[in-house]
């Protein structure tokens, strides 16, 4: 390979830049990356020293060449190389520029990846907090649900009973377990009426029978599942 001003472009130097790029991906942090890079760059033809600085520097300042480490909007400062033989280094200048850009890309990707990790941790924490809060809320609800003297039943979307408290079971003459899974008929569009101080617009259909001289309710259920909202004919 021939470079400008008659200097040979050495393949091993280019290979060195490429491999440095690969190894950088394995290094743990910015400090390690720049210390590795600066040590490697001083082996380039014509280079005397290499340092990483936080700020942007003029492209050329005497014997110093500055290479920006920018990717998108992210600025990681610049690499400043002290050149003792510019003609010797000149063929590699563009390659070093690209190399610095790639370092910036790698660092930017790491920042994004780190931010994503932090976001994931935050999200996991929020989910955990919400789950805890939901669990506590459910526990409180269940404590009230179980202990209240009001008969309470909960039906799922298909109209099947999924929960019933002791008061409901006692009122209907079932155990709470016997009530679970029953698809009962709830009439939900009655004229509002006050029952025991509470406004009610609905009722669960049940038959009242007398067994051994005692009244008990037998809930009306359907043999086949019917859609919620079906009118009682």
């Amino acid at each position: 390979m021939k470079a400008n001003k008659g200097h040979e472009l050495r393949a091993d130097v280019l290979g060195q830049l490429l491999l440095m790029q690969s190894i950088i991906c394995n290094l743990p942090d910015e400090k390690s990356i720049f210390s590795f890079t600066c040590r490697g760059l001083i082996d380039l033809p014509g280079i005397q020293t290499a340092v990483h600085v936080r700020e942007q520097k003029p492209e050329r300042d005497g014997s110093r060449l500055s290479f920006p480490l920018c990717s998108g909007d992210t600025d990681f400062g610049s690499l400043v190389l002290t050149v003792d033989d510019y003609d010797l280094f000149a063929p590699y200048k563009d390659y070093v520029n690209n190399f610095c850009f790639m370092i910036a890309v790698i660092l930017e990707e790491r920042c994004k990846s780190q931010k994503n990790k932090e976001l994931c941790v935050q999200l996991e924490k929020r989910v955990e907090d919400r789950s805890t809060s939901l669990r506590e809320s459910r526990e409180q609800f269940h404590a009230v649900f179980k202990s209240t003297s009001d008969a309470l039943i909960i039906a799922d979307e298909s109209g099947s009973l999924v929960e019933a408290n002791e008061a409901a079971a006692s009122m209907f003459g079932y155990t709470p377990e016997e009530l679970l899974g029953l698809q009962v008929i709830i009439v939900a569009n009655l004229k509002p009426a006050k029952l025991m101080g509470v406004t009610s617009q609905g009722m669960v259909l049940a038959a009242k029978e007398v067994v051994d001289g005692r009244e008990r309710m037998v809930l009306t259920t359907v043999r086949n599942s019917v859609a919620v909202g079906t009118k009682v004919a």
Binding site: L19, I23, P28, R39, G40
Partner: protein, 211 residues
């Protein structure tokens, strides 16, 4: 023992290499370190080589299970002397001193012993500990690695040196690369363009520390 023109498998890459290659592996994850180490040992044992490992982090039960999955009996290879496991500190930092001369003598002896026992080749994988940077003699680490490269030309023990990038400074990693002719990059073993031939390195780069 077969001559140095015979090729061997390193286990963690498909390519084959001449016996006696000196490889540097820069690792950044524990899983990566263990996977390469186990595969390197397995490949050696499968090829009937004398196989040795210097590490503080080998769980024998896990290694036993790993080798067992490939039909290699851990107990058999230990009993036959095909596999030797030692702690890094015990070997490298004997009496709290890092002595290149002692280590080189050990390597030479290991090769000669393996040869005498009829093994076709010998291999070693070693994990360097960060305390080498502070221990007496630790400033001769690069000299040692360069001299290993020289020694392996005469006594071709296949050697893989593992360095943890999280425990060594970046510039030290670069210096370490310069004294290894081969390096592992993302699972592939490649010729190291940073490598300085040991003769040149010992003559010019380690003035003041070389003995």
């Amino acid at each position: 023992m077969t001559d140095s023109s015979s090729t061997i498998s390193l286990g963690f890459t498909e390519n084959r290499f001449p016996a006696g290659v000196h490889v540097c592996q820069i690792i950044s994850q524990e899983e990566e370190r263990q996977e390469s180490l186990f595969k390197f040992l397995l490949a050696g044992l499968q090829e009937g080589e004398s196989t040795c490992c210097f590490s503080e982090n080998v769980d024998e039960a896990v290694l036993k299970e790993f080798l067992g999955n490939y039909g290699v009996s851990f107990n058999d290879v230990i009993d036959s002397g095909a596999l030797t496991l030692s702690g890094t500190r015990e070997v490298y930092f004997h009496q709290h001193i890092f002595s290149p001369e002692r280590m080189l003598a050990l390597l030479q002896e290991y090769h000669l012993k393996s040869e005498a026992l009829g093994f076709p080749n010998a291999r070693v994988i070693g994990e360097m500990l960060p305390e080498v940077q502070s221990i007496e003699g630790g400033n001769r680490l690069l000299e040692y690695e360069a001299r290993v490269s020289l020694l392996l030309k005469k006594y071709p023990v296949t050697a893989v040196c593992q360095y943890d990038a999280r425990q060594f400074d970046g510039s030290t990693i670069m210096d370490i690369l310069k004294v290894h002719p081969w390096m592992v990059v993302r699972g592939s073993v490649v010729h190291n363009p940073f490598h300085i031939p040991p003769e040149e390195f010992l003559a010019t780069k380690c003035e003041g520390t070389c003995q």
